[in-house]
Symmetry: C2
């Protein structure tokens, strides 16, 4: 029998996902089991990703965690819950490269460093990418080959959807122990290559209520939420899967908007009411509806999570017009060339008809910037040792510029 | 037999009402029958009222209508529908002062003039007061003694609630012909003398979608609205009536806020979504919740109709504090002494604790002004001929200052 390696380090990346059928409300707070199934689009990691390095060593004396360059308390319950779940799975599913009955690496302490390639302050719901990346990286470092939905879900419910690329369903499941509450790919990112995604980072004065507290309050007080979960979502899930499979953008877009609106309606029906949409969010919603009305069909679709930022879906052939419309109605406050990040979009001139149809007075600065992206793959392993966020000593590398930012993703 | 009088003129006033259990959505568009019952508080006419003069004469050759000093087309369907309904009732219920079988005054053409003692532009949903006043005045001038819900309802559904003072229930009814869809007083205005009402007129850039179009769109597209009407409102009506009867302000206030929020949730669930609340409305909602949290009980309660204006209920002993809190968070843009209209409210100084609890940065100009009022009586007849809006010739009096403004209401 080979002896257990004394030190092991793995670095992985994971994507952000955006729900088009929303998850809001848990039926089990402890296990993080949702009231209803949900469906999301995984965004491409070229634009938005979390990178996580995990190292285990028989020499480590305690678990340690660094987030975005700062060491933080490793004792927080959700992180501990993920670690426990990985250990439980590891005992069930030892992977084939397991070193056998030597000192079990499972007992080794772990050092974890994680960072996002986008500002946390932008409110881009980084926890899903973060916990998906944690689950995926811990599984690799501990040598666990298993479905990881349960691990990711213990960190943040929607994190299980970031374990897969493309279009992902999170089955609510029926079992009380949550074993069947798992994510599953509906279609890979290659299925719908024309789909484009714009992330609109909106200026906001106040930090919105956290989703954990918010959804708990909704579960306790909103009759509409219960009705939505039991009587509306099941049919919407089936319809959304059909739209994705058939690449029916009009159907996909309309249902995406309706489901975003209904989620925010349940927030308003919560007591005290929760508001994630502000006047800028509404201006974006009006813009999208007017853009579609002008074209006589659904060519763009918004969705909003627990904050004022919008995500707008469109197809490649409408992208330039849509970006021009956004730039017209929400001109950047100053430096115009930083308005658009991510995928390049050729600037075009809006027709006077479309400008008139939008009927929104340009207001500078309401949108801070726009990230153009598309659907992308699930978590990736980075093999290049230069990409590790931890050094050979298992401690955070000097943050001489975020090292992972320059690390190319495998293609 | 006495001969029919050749000319007859009546002037009446009617109040605005504010729903605390909301009406939104018709089950019959023609008859204006609602999806659910609703309950309102009639506001005092000392502050907000419509005055209407109706004259009939055998010499009039056509129906004519003046609104707020301007002659308008008398052919609009809802007005005609009210007139038809009055004629139908008149044939069923001739009043005791009927002149018998002389030339039936019912065939006489009518001249109507109507005006509000508040600016129409303030968005204070004047149609309920207007159609209640029209129904009441037409009934008087044609000599009809009957329940007038059906007449007022044909003009504007919620107008039937302005036919009574105090606390008024509009029974949705069950009959397809709508005969049982009528308003009924739950308690007179004298029942709860401590109740106070603040109407907050909010600055808004855009005119909101009209309620007729909006509710029709909600009926057609919002699953939540149907659920609300059938499964939520019935129990809320019973609970609200209990709160009114027992003068339980905490229960009344909490349910009022919840029902306002749920109505606006169904607007957001409408497709395309309807937004009547803006960021200022939300700031008012936050202020009220923080005011209540500071006091450890529900001492104030907001409700919003199809526009951004708020109506806030409170009791006499909290009124001064609440107005001071509003003035602190929403200082008038200029002329401070015009911020408050209506009932006098003694200025008080806010405690530093309450100021801190409100946690809202003062933003001038978001509330244009506040009208302080209370619950009041139903429609009134004005006997003083000086109060008529029409002259002896049946034409609009020269608008040398709105004549009705100075007309005292009978007490």
């Amino acid at each position: 029998m080979a002896s257990e390696k004394p030190f092991r380090m793995v670095t992985c990346t994971a994507p952000v996902n955006i729900a088009v059928i929303k998850y809001w409300g848990k039926r089990d707070k402890e296990l993080i089991l949702p009231l209803n199934s949900s469906l999301s689009v995984t965004l491409h990691q070229d634009q938005l990703r979390t990178t996580t390095t995990a190292a285990i060593s028989k020499d480590f004396t305690e678990d340690r965690l660094w987030l975005n360059g700062m060491e933080v308390d490793v004792g927080q319950p959700r992180l501990q819950s993920c670690l426990r779940e990985i250990h439980r799975l590891a005992q069930k599913h030892r992977s084939s490269d397991d070193d056998g009955d030597g000192p079990p690496r499972l007992s080794y302490k772990v050092h974890v460093a994680s960072e996002n390639n986008f500002p946390t302050a932008a409110g881009l719901a980084s926890s899903a990418a973060g916990y998906a990346c944690l689950a995926y990286t811990l599984a690799r470092v501990y040598g666990v080959e298993a479905e990881l939905s349960e691990v990711a879900r213990r960190g943040s419910g929607s994190a299980c959807r970031s374990l897969y690329g493309g279009f992902v369903e999170w089955h609510m499941g029926e079992r009380p122990d949550g074993r069947d509450s798992v994510a599953q790919q509906v279609a890979p990112e290659s299925h719908w290559p024309e789909l484009r995604v714009l992330v609109l980072v909106v200026s906001s004065e106040q930090k919105p209520m956290g989703s954990t507290v918010g959804m708990q309050s909704s579960v306790e007080t909103s009759a509409l939420l219960q009705f939505r979960a039991t009587s509306v979502v099941p049919a919407r899930m089936a319809e959304m899967i059909r739209c994705v499979r058939e690449r029916d953008f009009a159907g996909f877009g309309e249902l995406t908007m309706k489901d975003s609106n209904q989620f925010h309606a349940t927030c308003l029906d919560t007591f005290p009411p929760i508001s994630y949409l502000n006047d800028t969010s509404w201006a974006i919603m009006h813009l999208v509806h007017r853009f579609n009305a002008h074209h006589g069909q659904t060519k763009a679709a918004y969705t909003f999570d627990a904050g004022p930022n919008a995500v707008v879906f469109t197809l490649e052939d409408s992208l330039e017009d849509l970006v021009a419309a956004l730039r017209h109605c929400f001109p950047p406050e100053s430096n115009g060339d930083k308005f658009l990040k991510g995928l390049p979009v050729r600037p075009v001139t809006l027709s006077d008809e479309l400008k008139a149809a939008l009927a929104l007075d340009p207001t500078p600065g309401r949108i801070r910037y726009v990230i153009a992206t598309k659907a992308g793959p699930g978590p990736q392993v980075l093999d290049d040792p230069d990409c590790h966020l931890l050094g050979p000593d298992g401690l955070l590398k000097p943050a001489a510029g975020s090292p992972s930012l320059g690390c190319p993703l495998p293609s």
